[in-house]
């Protein structure tokens, strides 16, 4: 309600400021003022709305406290039970009834508190609304008083836009910080139980020993997990996804008819949205047995019914669209004149693609590949179902391996003990993975900066 009033106030401010600006602009000339009338309008509207809305946001957080305090001091609240939980239940119920969220009380005592709640809520919301309205008015008036021919409204409005954009990109930083903070904190506890060197360089990952409390000695060697992650996610899956994705993108942008591309591109994108359980079943029940039989017939030892190959191949299919769509967009965005220049030299289409388009589209291509790798590293379901959970350090693609994230999910969602080294190991794994992917990204950034051929 009050929000609508504030918006209305802002709109009024917009109209008045605009009218005023139009008037003085007519006097001094159109290009003589720094800003357009509507930009003056926006300036006033922002000053009207932003402080008031910010206040409301703060108020919304403070108000419940105030309401509760006032209800608790009411006479009806004196008879509340001392026990915290039932008291809160009654209070909550009364509050819910007062707000109309609930029709009747399960607890008779709640009814006596409904009125105090209603009163207090009404009182405080009215106060909040009034304050917000005053703030809106004051902000608007202040802004309006500044509107004048030499006033740089546009710059200020645009600065707000820029701050909004900056704020948006800071969310990523905050998220990263949150992740890092929580990972580091829990990892520290883990490393106080397990020697970091054993963790980083140990060759034996034996979660059951840890899970079942046989002791932590050399149960947390993470090397097999990292190898498994690289083997499945960064090697096998990429061997499938990069050529297929990139070649699909190239074919669709450069060879296929536009209508074909229009249909095929979204089709391929569906591959990214098929739930991973589906891929998991497919990998575990169709691909893996076939691969095992294949390995058995050609006499590869150690072939098992779960294999890195099965998981990696299917995962590769799943992430094709990450490569194909992003590469497709960047290749399509290279100006036609670049293609013309190459074709006119007598280059074939494929030469044009390889030597001119791909280098120019490099950021998009690399971006797509990175996204694909990231997705592959993070995938768990396919690995659990098709590659198993056995942490083997092996080069044999027909053998069973496991990955970091799969183990993390197992450790975090299974039948876990409180804060055992086993649960905390998940955080340590996450931290190391985070650092590794960070390095990977830094390298990728460098590569792109170095080899990108920026067109005009």
């Amino acid at each position: 309600m009050i929000v609508i009033i504030i918006i209305a106030l802002a709109a009024t401010g917009w109209i008045f400021a605009r009218a005023r600006a139009t008037r003085f602009q007519a006097e001094v000339g159109r290009l003589a003022t720094n800003s357009r009338p509507s930009q003056y309008g926006w300036y006033v509207a922002l000053w009207t709305a932003l402080p008031a809305l910010a206040f409301l946001m703060v108020w919304a957080n403070v108000m419940p406290r105030l309401v509760f305090d006032s209800v608790l001091s009411s006479p009806a609240a004196q008879s509340l039970p001392a026990d915290d939980f039932s008291r809160n239940v009654i209070l909550g119920e009364a509050n819910a009834i007062a707000r109309g969220a609930q029709a009747a009380a399960f607890n008779p005592q709640s009814m006596t508190l409904v009125e105090p709640f209603r009163d207090a809520t009404a009182r405080y919301s009215a106060a909040g609304a009034l304050l917000a309205a005053i703030l809106a008015f004051a902000g608007g008036a202040f802004a309006f008083s500044r509107v004048g021919p030499s006033f740089t409204a546009r710059n200020r409005v645009e600065r707000v836009v820029m701050w909004t954009l900056l704020l948006a990109s800071l969310i990523a930083i905050i998220t990263t910080a949150g992740i890092v903070a929580s990972l580091i904190f829990e990892s520290m506890r883990f490393f106080s139980m397990v020697n970091p060197l054993d963790f980083l360089f140990g060759l034996k990952w034996s979660p059951q020993s840890a899970a079942m409390g046989y002791g932590n000695d050399d149960a947390f060697g993470a090397v097999p997990l990292f190898w498994g992650t690289i083997f499945i996610g960064a090697i096998i899956a990429m061997i499938v996804a990069i050529p297929l994705g990139l070649m699909s993108a190239i074919y669709l942008t450069q060879y296929a008819r536009p209508e074909v591309r229009k249909w095929m591109k979204p089709m391929l994108e569906v591959l990214a949205g098929v739930p991973t359980v589906v891929y998991g079943y497919f990998a575990a029940l169709t691909v893996a047995p076939a691969l095992r039989n294949l390995a058995a017939t050609i006499g590869i030892p150690g072939a098992s019914s779960e294999s890195a190959l099965a998981a990696g191949l299917v995962m590769g299919v799943m992430i094709i669209p990450f490569v194909s769509s992003m590469a497709d967009d960047s290749i399509a965005a290279v100006p036609q004149s670049m293609r013309d220049g190459s074709l006119a030299m007598g280059a074939t289409t494929s030469e044009t693609i390889r030597k001119v388009l791909i280098p120019a589209a490099l950021p998009g291509v690399v971006g797509g590949v990175l996204l694909a790798v990231s997705r592959a590293i993070g995938e768990t379901m396919i690995v659990v179902m098709a590659a198993g959970l056995a942490a083997n350090l092996t080069l044999n693609p027909f053998a069973s391996v496991t990955t970091v994230t799969t183990q993390m999910v197992q450790l975090l969602t299974g039948d876990q003990e409180f804060d055992s080294a086993k649960t905390l190991a998940a955080f340590a794994l996450g931290l190391v993975l985070f650092i590794v992917t960070l390095l990977l990204n830094i390298v990728a950034l460098r590569v792109v900066k170095k080899y990108r051929e920026a067109y005009e």
């Binding site: 819910a96 059951q208 079942m212 299974g414």
Partner: protein, 329 residues
């Protein structure tokens, strides 16, 4: 502790915990809503027993779950945690029994096993005599077929795995008197020798998805699968059960406890919530009223507990008897 009463008052029951109990809790929800049409259906979250315990024991209040489903008994450490967080009064109800079943494809060789054989085939270090070298079942016992040992089972993080260790492996292990003796002298060592499973590929962690194990068995006729009894029952046309100690994994054998791989299932309820959360008592009663043999819960695959156990627990439900935690391990 959150703000008092912030958010809506809870009008929905919330349960967390075991994936094994999950289907039966679901069934109870159906029964509960049928008899209480005005009530919102309870929310059952399948988190695994341990993770559920953590949530359950975090405190008393509307943001904490009311019920914990458990495929094993609460541990002493968990109980203490609960107490420390103010979850003082906990009602423990055994709702039934689940069996871990051993099965093979109906095209399989027709195994017949004992806990001892299972232990010898799967232990990482049988009887502490060095790493397990058995490659085929025949290596374990000449009467068994000469096919490679390949067992699909639950991962080390699941409650089902705990049961496997406790109900089968330890039993097999203790058949050796030396091991039994070891239990008294060095319990940790005993536990390790008796429950640690080999990691050389003979035993395959197949994730928490029992259906997947069923399907993998169909694709690998020589393999042995370990999973919840209800899955065996639902797939009798594809699978044969493997007798343990000569006892077939039938409903009656599990119910009577004759089948070695039977384990009790529990729910834990916060007494403090019973008054505050509408319908909570009725929901718990939905279990006790329907856990008889032939009742809806057993139709869903649960195995009914023995008569006396059922009676004792029904009394717990009616009287809301609080557990003491004295006999927990």
């Amino acid at each position: 502790q959150g703000q008092p009463g912030s958010g809506a008052a809870r009008d929905q029951i919330r349960a967390v915990g075991s994936s094994t109990v999950y289907p039966f809790a679901q069934e109870a929800v159906g029964l509960f809503t049928q008899t209480n049409p005005g009530m919102k259906a309870p929310i059952i979250e399948s988190t695994g027993t341990g993770a559920g315990m953590k949530l359950f024991c975090a405190g008393v209040g509307s943001q904490y779950p009311d019920i914990e489903n458990a495929s094993r008994r609460m541990k002493k450490s968990e109980f203490d945690q609960c107490q420390a967080n103010g979850v003082k009064e906990i009602i423990e109800v055994q709702i039934g029994v689940d069996g871990i079943a051993f099965a093979e494809s109906n095209k399989g060789p027709g195994y017949s096993l004992t806990p001892k054989l299972v232990y010898e085939a799967l232990a990482a270090n049988p009887y502490g005599k060095g790493p397990n070298k058995a490659k085929t079942w025949k290596d374990v016992d000449p009467s068994l077929p000469s096919v490679a040992i390949s067992v699909f089972g639950p991962p080390s993080t699941s409650g089902t795995r705990d049961s496997l260790a406790e109900l089968v492996l330890t039993v097999g292990c203790d058949s050796d008197p030396a091991m039994k003796a070891l239990k008294d002298s060095d319990e940790a060592r005993h536990k390790q020798l008796c429950t640690q499973i080999r990691e050389d590929g003979a035993y395959v962690d197949a994730g928490e998805n029992d259906n997947l194990i069923v399907q993998k068995l169909a694709a690998n006729p020589d393999a042995v699968g370990v999973f919840g009894f209800s899955y065996l029952d639902a797939n009798r046309d594809k699978l044969n059960d493997i007798p343990l100690d000569g006892v077939e994994a039938t409903y009656d054998a599990v119910a009577s406890g004759a089948y070695p791989g039977a384990r009790p299932l529990y729910i834990y309820v916060k007494k403090a919530h019973i008054a505050a959360v509408p319908g909570l008592k009725a929901y718990v009663e939905a279990f006790s009223r329907n856990w008889n043999p032939g009742g809806p819960l057993t139709r869903r695959g649960m195995v009914a507990a023995q008569e006396n156990v059922r009676q004792a627990n029904a009394d717990v439900v009616t009287n809301l008897t609080v557990m003491t935690g004295d006999d927990l391990k």
